[in-house]
Symmetry: D2
Subunit: 290 residues, 4 copies
């Protein structure tokens, strides 16, 4: 992360000769100063030309124009390269809506990072199916919406969640141990925008009560997984994972406690990568330019 304003171009296209030359040539031609750049050729193990991924940070004031003109001028190159791309401005804060249930560890952790500007984002609101954290969230000057969810009102509840997200023009929705399964419809409409933290090292222990499953199997490490939410439960592209050692003396409660530390660390890292446009989705996998 750089102190000065910069633009971040992230893109992917079919691999071929000359991609870097074409893109970096365009930037150099306009005297753009590259702060950081990452490239990855993914051939899926085939040894043949596959897909090419890139992420480039350019110092904003080194260019003679702003984003709109950058987009205008870059478009022909992107079209020529059959590129999927976007460019973002470090001066425009991302808008992150947090969904939470009754566990506080991820919420406290995210708000501490926001408070200290470690996460330089807007949090336009927090949504919860419980009202336990209303006071805490509002004390931080953040609107809190209590949207109860029960077996009978799910459709209406998720419609309300979506309405709130749209109303505040949210960029990213974070399920910070939300413990509710969003509707497939809502997931499908926001691909690459909804981030979940699952409390197991996926693909082990999909679904409910993963720490109980881990206890039963007698594993020696437990983990957490930050992933994009898709309509298939716990099957979306994985952004980040980590594990922590346990042993025979640890009860399920101990695992839950250890797990919290991994969950919040993994969620915070994954979210940060996403907000900095470091995560590019490729099928059901991710390229993460750390």
């Amino acid at each position: 992360m750089h102190a000065k304003r910069f633009y971040t171009l992230s893109a992917s296209c079919p691999d071929r000769v000359g991609i870097i030359a074409r893109v970096s040539g365009f930037i150099a031609e306009h005297k753009g100063w590259i702060l950081e750049s990452s490239y990855h050729a993914d051939d899926g193990g085939s040894g043949e030309a596959g897909r090419y991924f890139m992420r480039i940070e350019v110092k904003a004031d080194s260019l003679p124009f702003h984003l709109a003109e950058f987009r205008e001028r870059f478009r022909p190159i992107a079209e020529e390269l059959e590129m999927g791309w976007k460019i973002s401005d470090s001066a425009v804060k991302k808008r992150v809506v947090i969904l939470v249930s009754k566990q506080e560890h991820c919420l406290y952790d995210l708000l501490a990072r926001w408070q200290s500007k470690e996460l330089d984002i807007e949090i336009p609101c927090v949504i919860s199916n419980h009202d336990a954290f209303k006071g805490f969230v509002e004390w931080h000057g953040i609107p809190f919406h209590h949207v109860p969810v029960n077996p009978d009102n799910k459709r209406a509840a998720y419609a309300e969640v979506e309405r709130l997200f749209d109303e505040v023009r949210g960029d990213t929705m974070v399920l910070a141990r939300y413990m509710q399964i969003l509707s497939p419809d809502l997931c499908a409409k926001h691909p690459g925008q909804i981030i979940n933290i699952h409390h197991s090292f996926l693909p082990s222990f999909v679904g409910a009560k993963p720490y109980h499953q881990a206890y039963q199997r007698g594993v020696k490490l437990i983990g957490a997984t930050c992933h994009f939410v898709t309509s298939e439960l716990d099957q979306g592209p994985i952004i980040e994972q980590d594990v922590i050692r346990i042993d025979h003396s640890d009860s399920v409660d101990d695992m839950v406690r250890y797990g919290k530390d991994i969950e919040k660390a993994v969620l915070a890292r994954g979210l940060r990568y996403h907000l900095e446009d470091r995560v590019l989705v490729h099928g059901n996998k991710t390229v993460v330019f750390r």
Copy 2:
């Protein structure tokens, strides 16, 4: 591990008041010097009395008698406590038979540890379904048996493996990336004696080609698992696990390479725990007194 000769008592029994007092009282009564001791009450999360596990190292020359008499005198206590137990002598080297296929990393690693006496064991023979390592093994003065395995001779081949193991009075059989599935019969006859290293973080990626499976799923860490072999493939009690970080730039071949380092480290640790009687099986789980 202590420099001087010692006896290791490992045991488990139904939990109740006074177990430690009874056992340590017996040892103290005979002036036994306890070098190291570990205890664990496992209630399976019930909050009720469950099963009790222990491991005690006693300095051999502090006792007025040898193992045979220890066993004789301790038996009534063990019976009273309904204890499953054994006691071993650090002066008697364990006999470890290594089974290997065509990959060298675990074999080299184990022989280096044996050569340097880090693993203070006997290796009465190495068995392989290929003859690639015959020269290497024999150079170390260890007998090598080539027992080819093919779809038609499996029954005979495993009978030969078992015959060799019995002939050399093996204590432990180590599948050092043996890549063959032993017969359920052989597994069932040697519970807690056969140790495998599986190249995934179980229960993820059971069975064949786990690194390919990991590549497809896009996980961010890969692992290895050392476990007791039972008649169910990759389902036995887990002794030790570990993981290593990978990223999008790693091909399946890269994973295989990283994985080797985790495999040999995890196998070496798991085997050492087992040889030092630190691993007590409890249903399909293990208590590991490190």
Copy 3:
């Protein structure tokens, strides 16, 4: 950590034959149910008798008497064994005073753990040399004391800190990135009671600006250390440490950010071990019965 009330005996004494038998015999004689017990013989590498450490959890309602009588009855045994010992009651919450400066990560982290009862403690007050967190702390219903520290008032300021700690009958003082060096006098008066989190992997990078030092040296991992505060800066007994991987692309600011995650995790673990009487000091080292 167990759900039901229990007593924790922690002790050390010169090593000799029969210690466990003597102590566990006493407990068994009164029908005490041992939930968890750990023992360690430390010979300092000499091979001779050294010092013996133990920690035993006994279910409170299994004993026919309360702590006062336990202490009375156990005293003769402790004297016979020349034991330093204490026993605590899980029903009596420890009183932890937090000292903080201008960084929020450890404070938010500790309050989240306290809020969720993961840390089952009293926080009678938070003391800071700044008033930045007054509102946040008071929102949680915890008294906040602003005790400014400057080069001219140090003596008076630390006297005030000590007065506040004594007034609330604090058990433990936690320097949660307090960034001030307490007076040697204050440290000496509270041995084993003041816990600091230092933002390096000690003994590397003692003193000020450890992340700058790490950046200059080009290390590939950075860490944090939780230790008891003594009158010598960053030299007290180490309770817990951990590290995180960095690389050439990380600036000092990136290290500071990564470091925060390690600092709060290491402090939380170290503090928990301490509060559960799992940490026994031995010279300038610790025995930590995890």
Copy 4:
């Protein structure tokens, strides 16, 4: 690592606008297919233009010329950019001379990696101040040179080491727990060519007996450091480091044993990065393009 033949260009130069465009433009102009590329701008935290580093792999058969002509044609660009650079050919194996003393773990580990072609190198000879591994090394078909070192013959001994290294046209000298301090003169003549594995997490525990030092200080993790050898003991640029958890129950001997596993893993990773031209030295630090 790619299956097909490729060239690796590694370079650094003063940072300025257009470096990537200039270099990738040259490659694209000749239809060079970039397999992998990494870039890093190091401003030393100044926010000003600093030094620029890069590493580019180009598929050999995509270019219309071989290395000699590449060098010829690229030279003017390199001069214009004031670049320090080199280019290597994956088809030309690096020649690695291993120096070893009496501990086998790193030697066995390196030979296993060489044997399996994981390390695709030539080992023209192994040099040792003892003759313990003569048979083992020669069994692998590698020449072994016994060059005894004692307080009186150091000058002559190191001259002999250097003569052997030059004679076999070694590219890299690996001190695989060689335990001897090379002459400053020899180190100065081979900058960036001699790699050592030090058995501590530098800068902690410089010099002799680091595990004893770690034991005395009571650290909770021990580590190893792979670094370039310079004339200052244990002060050279760090390539790779890692740590492993220990606790109060571990003796110095246990640390030595755990440490071996970290040493060989760290050495193998660091050496591999070096052999793949992923390590660029920058003052007393390294850029490592993993």
